[in-house]
């Protein structure tokens, strides 16, 4: 092969501008055995690449691989009914959650209905006499407590009066 073409291709190669065909051309040239002495430093590189492409797995790999794949395949087939059961159990889970939500919703609605009944409209006593007594009791309780409070408040007014007196005397 024309060695000036190899020069050109090599230059392109180092710049990373060669096409795959051109790279193959280089590899073929350096493997041909008729390499010019000035390429002696570069030739081993291309021969290395060519050699590297021959590295491979041992010949028994295929058999082992296929045996393995067939094994996983049979496992899968065996598992198929299991998958269906799994699907149903998933559906059952969803259904159970749905049921709980519906039941809970029903009870919550019942509770809300109870709350809607306004408390001051419902009667607590049937007998008006009894109701009157109860009301009286309640009012008495309130008035008793109210009076207690007023007693305490009276003390404060004495203080106020005293303060007023002191003020007026000071002004005099």
């Amino acid at each position: 092969m024309d060695s000036s073409r190899i020069d050109k291709l090599l230059e392109k190669y180092w710049e990373g501008e060669t096409s795959l065909e051109e790279e193959k051309e280089l590899k073929d040239y350096f493997a041909s055995g008729e390499v010019e002495a000035r390429f002696n430093s570069v030739a081993p590189l291309f021969n290395y690449y060519k050699e590297e492409a021959n590295v491979g797995l041992d010949t028994f790999f295929d058999e082992r691989m296929i045996a393995k794949l067939e094994k996983t395949e049979t496992k899968r087939k065996v598992q198929k009914p299991g998958r269906m059961v799994e699907l149903f159990s998933n559906i059952a889970k969803v259904a159970a959650v749905g049921l709980i939500v519906i039941v809970a919703g029903y009870f919550i609605r019942q509770e809300m209905k109870k709350d809607e009944i306004k408390p001051y409209l419902t009667d607590t006593f049937d007998d008006p006499q009894k109701a009157f007594e109860e009301t009286k009791k309640a009012l008495e309780l309130i008035s008793r407590n109210f009076n207690k409070g007023r007693k305490e408040a009276k003390k404060i007014t004495t203080f106020n009066e005293a303060q007023e007196k002191v003020k007026s005397e000071n002004q005099l």
Binding site: G16, S41, L45, E51, E52, G56
Partner: protein, 172 residues
């Protein structure tokens, strides 16, 4: 997708997935496990796969993400275990099922590429070893095309520089 279709469409990608996972994880055992996990994932999602335009890139993306997850959990587990981190950077276990022995220069190149920043290392692997287009690399790495180009350029510049170094110090 039937098992037959899986055999013809997905299984042939296994070596590419393995190489990518291996480059990221630096451990052939873990890369092997990762590819298995990817295959199982793909198998479980095979119904979605019918709509995919580029299934291979999709598988590569899953591989990348799984590898990243593994790296993360590894970092958590072995924060200060020097021995283990050594194992990653040492080139002894670099290529487990290699057909041809590499010479020292090629081994050195491998070590140098392994020492590149993660993004650049992955892009070199995807472009120069696997021969993916920029768009595919972008899809796999979930970055945009300009990012791919920039990182590829930087990676190639770094590779070029260290090749020149290897040469000028007479390490070849």
């Amino acid at each position: 997708m039937s098992l037959e279709a899986f055999k013809t469409r997905v299984l042939p990608v296994k070596d590419k997935l393995y190489r990518f996972a291996f480059k990221m994880l630096g451990d052939s055992e873990e890369a092997h496990d990762t590819v298995q996990e990817v295959m199982i994932k793909v198998w479980n999602k095979r119904d979605e796969m019918a709509q995919l335009e580029n299934m291979e890139a999709w598988c590569m993306r899953i591989t990348r993400n799984l590898s990243l997850d593994k790296l993360k959990s590894k970092k958590r587990k072995l924060t200060d275990s020097l021995e283990d981190s050594f194992e990653i950077s040492q080139g002894e276990d670099l290529t487990p099922y290699r057909t041809v022995e590499m010479d020292d220069t090629m081994k050195n190149i491998g070590l140098m590429i392994a020492a590149l920043p993660a993004k650049q290392k992955q892009i070199i692997q995807l472009r120069d070893v696997e021969g993916y287009s920029y768009k595919e690399i972008g899809d796999i790495m979930e970055i945009d095309m300009s990012q791919v180009k920039v990182n590829l350029f930087r990676a190639r510049q770094a590779v070029k520089e260290s090749i020149l170094n290897i040469n000028s110090y007479g390490l070849q």
